[in-house]
Amino acid sequence: MMCRIRAFEDAAEEASRGGVAAFGQQAVGQAQVRGPLHLSTGQEAVAAGVCRHLRPNDYLTSTHRGHGHTLAKGADLERMMHELFGKATGFCGGRGGSMHIADFSVGMLGANGVVAAGIPIALGAAQSIKIRRVDAIAVTFFGDGAINRGPFAESLNWAAAFNLPILFVCEDNQWSATTKTGTMSAGQGAAARARSFGIEAEVVDGNDVGAVSETARGMIADIRAGKGPRLLHARTYRFKGHVSVDPAIYRDPKELEAALKSDPLLVTAAQLRAHGVAPTEIDAVLQAARTEVARAVETAGQAPWPAASDAFSQIQDTGAGQWL
């Protein structure tokens, strides 16, 4: 899974050059993936480690940086790439793009263009699970910057007050756009805040997929057993700029250099080698992922655009057809 995410992000990045105007860059128009593209390169272990314990009927909400979460939840890679290309064959029929990637058929209730906005949505899904007496849980991913928005605190309180089956996952890549999150976040972070609401929380190395998986497994088991909400704080790093066109000149290159040494793919490869897996086998996995992604890029390029009339469908039923 981590290799598939990495391969996906690399290909999306490649296809997005010149795709958006920000950070002093101009949109050039002919990019295949347009608009703000937030890559999760380097953060793959969090998505993979958590989502391997989820079932298709568990619910997930995500952030603006949601490709990895969506893939890990079981969404089809090809249809995702098609959505990034804005094609009719994408998950949202080209209406959403990267920031609104979603696959409701596997319980992935959507990325979100608004920081922290996915958190209460997952909370509501968890309450719905309880009300409908379904055997499932809800999971919500959010960034380290998102914990400073009110809805995070409101949702922690609510989840604990109602003892809801929800796992909060803070995917801490140390940055909030161009701001070092640490300078703007007081206290000991997401886990400490969760504990102040009586929610059990743990901090893990988010570059070690084994560690993430092991902790998530225990927490998810507790949640399924009705023990209430849990919070997992996973420390990782954002290898790329905030969006794909951002050169991230505001950060010390040494910081990135150091972080690249804990690349979760390298960490896992080392662990696998230690377990006797042959390097060629490991390479083959990444190679296979790249081949799969290359095929997705190819079919995405050829796939049809949405019809212009799609701009006016799936908005609302009441009053449909009346757009002025």
């Binding site: 619910y59 909400t61 994408g90 998950f91 949202c92 029929g93 080209g94 209406r95 959403g96 609104h100 979603a102 696959d103 409701f104 058929s105 209730l109 959507g110 979100n112 263009g113 608004v114 906005a117 958190i119 209460p120 949505i121 997952a122 909370l123 509501g124 899904a125 968890a126 309450q127 719905s128 699970i129 309880k130 009300i131 409908r132 809800a138 009110g150 809805p151 409101e154 949702s155 309180n157 609510w158 007050a161 469908s313 799936q314 908005i315 609302q316 039923d317 009441t318 009053g319 009346q322």
Partner: protein
């Protein structure tokens, strides 16, 4: 058929819907004790606290959670107490609930009724007296409803719950105690105006509490032999153009009267549409662009009243 007030009509309607459809739930502050205006009276006793859900004071999350509920098979009725506090949940209403279905290409639906009572609530001053319904007509994905009578509050709530779209549902803060006959068997469809009074001389278009002032204004005008037609729009989006255009064709003069501030109020949309598409003369009367003051004399300055509506009607007739 029974006489009940506007608050009881809502509670009865919601109860009937909850009995019929186990997916319907309600959530918000103080709903367990029936809501502070009685608009949820008896419901938690009848349906339990899992379906009539008391919440923390967390408007943003009330609304956000409702979106999550709606995406996963429930039909939430969201209590935001007054439109003024709904301002704490605008991202969730506008960016999440309204756009969800489109953004995700129709994978999702957000059936939800968002209750945000509007209007001046006497002596409650600037932060409890707003009427922001026009904002929501500007937002794709939303249906916008504003009932003026107990019957319509019963019937429109039913229709809102059935339509499958997110509905911005605007009750009026000063109509809770209004009594009226309610026939649960009488459907009130979305998007259909009600003719409240017939007349040939001019048309007054209105909704919510202003309908009652418009009827009073029509009485005043009738004393001088002026026959005003009064149309209660009931649904602001989609609005009943057919009814409005037909009346405009008949009378040739249309006054839109609403309590909301006139500048950029929904009256502007109706007046502009009529000006673009018909030969009717149009006029508007809404509140002044001023916050509502506390003292009675100040509050009175910001209210649209029957006599002001009648005066505006005469002006229009003289044009």
């Amino acid at each position: 058929m029974a006489v009940m007030n506007y608050a009881a009509a809502a509670a009865t309607s919601l109860g009937d819907a909850m009995r019929r459809d186990s997916a319907v739930v309600a959530l918000g502050e103080d709903v367990g004790r029936g809501g502070i205006f009685g608009q949820y009276r008896g419901l938690q006793e009848a349906f339990g606290s899992e379906r009539v859900i008391d919440t923390p004071i967390s408007e943003a999350t009330i609304m956000g959670a409702a979106v999550g509920m709606a995406l996963t098979g429930l039909k939430p009725v969201i209590e935001l107490r007054v439109i003024d506090f709904a301002l704490c949940a605008m991202d969730e209403i506008i960016n999440q609930a309204a756009k969800n279905r489109y953004m995700f290409g129709g994978q999702s639906h957000v059936p939800a009724v968002i209750r945000m009572p509007i209007g001046i609530w006497s002596a409650s001053a600037a932060q409890h007296s707003q009427s922001l319904e026009s904002w929501f007509t500007h937002v794709p994905g939303l249906v916008v409803v504003a009932p003026a009578t107990p019957q319509d509050n019963y019937g429109l709530l039913q229709a809102a719950l059935q339509c499958g779209d997110p509905v911005a549902y605007f009750e009026h803060k000063e109509l809770w105690a209004l009594d009226g006959e309610v026939d649960p068997g009488q459907p009130v469809p979305l998007g259909k105006a009600a003719l409240r009074r017939s007349g040939d001389d001019l048309t007054i278009i209105s909704w919510s509490k202003a309908v009652h002032w418009s009827l009073d204004a029509a009485e005043i005008l009738a004393r001088d032999g002026i026959e005003a037609e009064v149309i209660d729009l009931r649904t602001l989006w989609p609005w009943d153009r057919e009814a409005v255009f037909a009346s405009a064709a008949k009378t040739g003069r249309v006054l839109v009267a609403h309590e909301a501030i006139q500048v950029a109020g929904f009256g502007a949309e109706i007046a502009a549409t009529l000006a673009e598409q018909t030969d009717a003369r149009v006029a508007r009367l809404g509140g002044p662009r001023a916050p509502v003051g506390y003292a009675p004399v100040l509050e009175a300055e910001t209210r649209v009243t029957p006599s002001r509506i009648a005066a505006k009607a005469r002006e229009l007739l003289a044009r």
